[in-house]
């Protein structure tokens, strides 16, 4: 009986027998089923509507501003997505990003070379992640609680280190500021860095054995252990990676602003998690793509920018962003149900 049912459900894909040989029809069909396609269409529709609604929207200045707005945060989105896929979550990303700025800024003011200061700062962030990984995998606490505590602690460290005031880093050498403010041709360096990070991690996540283990672990941690995968090590590494990428983002922000801001990034975790989830990552682990998460980030950024151009009150913007998240997750929930 169950055999018959199975035949019925697989009937749709039956024409494509085992071989991978994907004809053009197959590729189109697979594309249409992908969540990324839906997001791209929504973003394009928004572009279309906005280009009529506001004369400023489709200008180079506005495009550049939007891209700059999500590019650095996008690096954090990459780390968060990988962590979510492995079954974890990190609420401390905003504070750790700010802490990266503060550590590097203080070292620079103390006379350390800015590049070395940055490397130390990124290493410090990575060790914060390793610490969280320790509490999660060895002590056995939940990611949510551990990162909530670290979120508060890291913010406290920022304020403690700076006395609560931004550190002006006016003497940063121009070649350092270049990574935050410069352009290669017409493309800002920030965007270049972002694209490199995204493409590299998207490829690794899809194609390397190392990151495949991240999917196995998040999909079913027990089954992964029953496949000989050292799941604790995987979770430890994804937690560390996410914080390290926060460090990278913090350094780029510092170069861009020319200062270290201890209160930067409050609420960033919500944006980042929302982007990953809109892009298809599941809070229960096992699914998600970098490309999707970045599209989620782009969508949120385009919406924010559109609302600002349309003179919608900032308060409304939060309400609308929250609603987008809720609808994306609801739609996803129903699609998953239908598939299952």
């Amino acid at each position: 009986m169950s055999e018959g049912k199975n035949m019925a459900t697989t009937g749709a894909t039956a024409p494509f027998r085992p071989r991978q040989g994907a004809g053009p029809a197959d590729i189109v069909r697979r594309l249409l089923r992908m969540r990324e396609t839906g997001l791209v269409l929504i973003i394009l529709a928004l572009f279309l509507v906005m280009s009529f609604a506001s004369p400023y929207f489709l200008t180079w200045v506005n495009m550049r501003a939007m891209a700059m707005a999500f590019a650095v945060e996008g690096i954090v989105v990459v780390g968060m997505t990988i962590l979510l896929i492995s079954g974890g979550i990190d609420l401390s990303v905003g504070s750790v990003t700010a802490l990266a700025m503060v550590i590097a800024g203080l070292l620079f003011l103390a006379g350390v070379d800015p590049w070395i200061a940055s490397a130390i700062s990124i290493a410090a962030c990575a060790s914060i992640g390793a610490g969280m990984g320790f509490f999660v995998t060895r002590v056995g606490l939940h990611h949510f609680i551990v990162s909530l505590a670290v979120m508060v602690i890291a913010r406290g460290l920022c304020l403690l280190g700076t006395g609560g005031r931004p550190l002006g880093l006016y003497t940063l050498p121009p070649e350092f500021k270049f990574i935050g403010q410069g352009s290669i041709g017409v493309i800002p360096v920030v965007i270049v860095v972002f694209v490199v990070v995204v493409v590299a991690f998207d490829f690794m996540l899809r194609r390397t054995t190392m990151f495949r283990k991240v999917f196995y672990t998040g999909s079913n941690e027990k089954a992964a252990a029953y496949s000989g995968i050292r799941t604790k090590k995987v979770v430890f590494l994804t937690t560390t990676l996410c914080s390290a990428l926060c460090g990278v983002a913090g350094i780029i922000y510092m170069a861009r602003f020319g200062s270290a801001q201890p209160t930067f990034g409050i609420g960033m975790e919500l944006n980042v998690i929302a982007a990953a989830v809109i892009g298809g990552a599941s809070l229960s682990g096992g699914t998600g793509t970098i490309f999707g998460a970045i599209l989620g980030a782009i969508l949120l950024s385009v919406v924010s920018s559109s609302l600002a151009l349309l003179d919608v009150s900032v308060y409304w913007q939060d309400i609308i962003r929250g609603s987008i998240l809720l609808s994306a997750v609801t739609i996803d929930h129903y699609l998953n149900k239908r598939r299952g």
Partner: protein
């Protein structure tokens, strides 16, 4: 069937039937319980014992049939109704709240029906200590978390007793107890029976049935077989009634004489784990399928996991084709070629939301990856479709998620996953659970083919006909030790059940 105490029946069940979809869990079952008796219900896994008890407790509704309690026909629509009627059920799994006190747990049921708003803790503790006194030395104000398993079991019984029950159902209450604790429990059960409480006692263990029960009713395949007075029967007769099935030719041919070999693929010596098993030694010879039989909880799966170092710390030796292995974890075991197919396909065997190909390659990603650990997707797809063809897996595309497959085909994916690393020894834990008859026969055929190709196979199964039909030799595990070995003509269900439940090798006595 004895009919002398007709008037003294407290519970009477007639013509009870229950189906789940197309599976008939119960077919026209009858059951009679006398006042103050201890009545065992016996049967293999899937015989219908739990279904019957769940109907008596109102957890399930029967499709047909009547229940009479004290001569009155009753309609038990929910466990709450069963409680009101005086039916208490102590489930096999302990279901207490660990972070509240013993007294609060005991009165949980009473509290939910009470009309008072505020709890009177002093009062429930006093009442709880009254109920607990005959059961043993348990402090009613202690947290349940701090109690031993057997004490928790006693709290469960006390909880059932607060409801003023006339009928008490005990579902394998000694499964988690030591021998001494079990003895103490039986004294209590006898005392309760002497007070006029009627006990339904579910157990696999012949020893318990014959030491402590008055009568025994046997179910098989959802049907009533017979009720016997314990004093007038023998364990052998009860076991025959439980089994009583003819094995058909669903199974593939066994090892031929010319396939016998003295070559040992795997030898396990004195394998011991802290609590689950001790001193396990056995050999797996080339060309044979070895079975591991035993009751649930006897330690069969644990032994297999112990050999593979899958989450268990063990002492003892594992020798693979003459070489002593020093395994640290399951990853090492896979590398050496010893793999374990989990009994819980959905829980820990497969990644349901991932593709067939990704599942098949999970044990060793290196074989589908080039330098730098980059996965070659076409190699991965070839690996999966090659094994899929070998196993006759019905599927659309190897990139299709496993969740879309039927149970039998999912199991083939799980087996393909094992075969992907060209293992030398495979432990298969309940390889055909939840698989339909056709796929089952196919899996059995595959196992025989694998053995012929030189792979060592150990099958763990709770289904005795399967073990007997598929295996060339069966080891019977009882309470963490190997209780005996059967092969050839000796390999009968009776013998296996006898060894698994009675424990001593009868052949040595007679």
């Amino acid at each position: 069937m004895p009919r002398d105490n007709q008037d003294d029946l407290i519970l009477e069940i007639r013509n009870m039937s229950k189906s789940f979809g197309q599976i008939h869990a119960l077919r026209g079952v009858q059951f009679e319980l006398r006042r103050g008796e201890i009545h065992a219900v016996a049967g293999e896994n899937g015989a219908g014992k739990s279904t019957l008890m769940n109907i008596i407790d109102g957890i399930l509704r029967a499709d047909e049939g009547t229940i009479r309690l004290d001569g009155q026909e009753v309609d038990i629509t929910s466990p709450a109704v069963a409680q009101e009627l005086g039916i208490g059920f102590v489930h096999q799994e302990i279901a207490l709240c660990p972070d509240i006190t013993v007294a609060e747990n005991i009165f949980m049921g009473a509290t939910s029906t009470s009309r008072r708003t505020l709890m009177n803790y002093a009062d429930i503790e006093r009442k709880a200590s009254q109920i607990l006194r005959p059961l043993g030395d348990i402090d009613p104000s202690a947290l349940v978390r701090s109690l031993s398993i057997s004490q928790q079991q006693l709290v469960e019984i006390a909880k059932a007793l607060t409801l003023d029950c006339r009928v008490l159902i005990l579902d394998e209450p000694t499964a988690a107890l030591t021998e001494r604790e079990a003895k103490a429990l039986f004294e209590i059960v006898h005392a309760l029976a002497a007070q006029g409480i009627s006990i339904i006692y579910i157990s696999h263990r012949m020893v318990e049935i014959f030491e402590s029960c008055d009568r025994v009713t046997v179910l098989r395949d959802g049907q009533y077989i017979k009720t016997m007075t314990v004093a007038d029967t023998t364990p052998r007769e009860v076991v025959s009634a439980m089994v009583g099935r003819v094995i058909d030719s669903l199974y593939p041919e066994k090892q031929r004489a010319d396939e016998r070999s003295d070559e040992i693929i795997l030898e396990v010596r004195n394998l011991t784990e802290k609590t689950r098993f001790r001193d396990i030694s056995f050999q797996l010879r080339k060309g044979e399928i070895l079975g591991l039989a035993g009751l649930i909880g006897a330690g069969r799966s644990e032994i297999a996991k112990g050999v593979c170092r899958l989450g268990l710390d063990v002492t003892g030796e594992v020798v693979l084709t003459g070489r002593r292995l020093a395994l640290r974890d399951y990853g090492d075991s896979i590398e050496q070629g010893i793999v374990y197919l989990s009994e819980d396909r959905k829980g820990d065997g497969l990644f349901l939301d991932m593709s067939i190909a990704a599942n098949v390659s999970a044990l060793d990603l290196r074989q589908i990856a080039g330098g730098l650990g980059i996965i070659d997707e076409s190699r991965e797809a070839d690996l999966a479709s090659g094994l899929a063809d070998q196993l006759g897996l019905k599927h659309g595309h190897v990139r299709q998620p496993v969740s879309a497959l039927s149970g039998g085909n999912q199991q083939k994916v799980a087996i393909a996953k094992m075969l992907s690393v060209n293992p030398k020894v495979i432990f298969l834990d309940e390889p055909t659970r939840g698989v339909d008859v056709g796929a089952k026969a196919e899996i059995h055929r595959i196992l025989r083919e694998l053995v012929r190709s030189g792979v060592g196979i150990v099958v763990i199964s709770s289904e005795l006909p399967e073990l007997i039909g598929v295996c060339d030799r069966v080891l019977v595990v009882r309470e963490g030790e190997i209780a005996g070995e059967v092969a050839g003509d000796e390999m009968t269900e009776e013998m296996i059940i006898y060894l698994a439940s009675v424990g001593q090798d009868r052949r040595r006595n007679s």
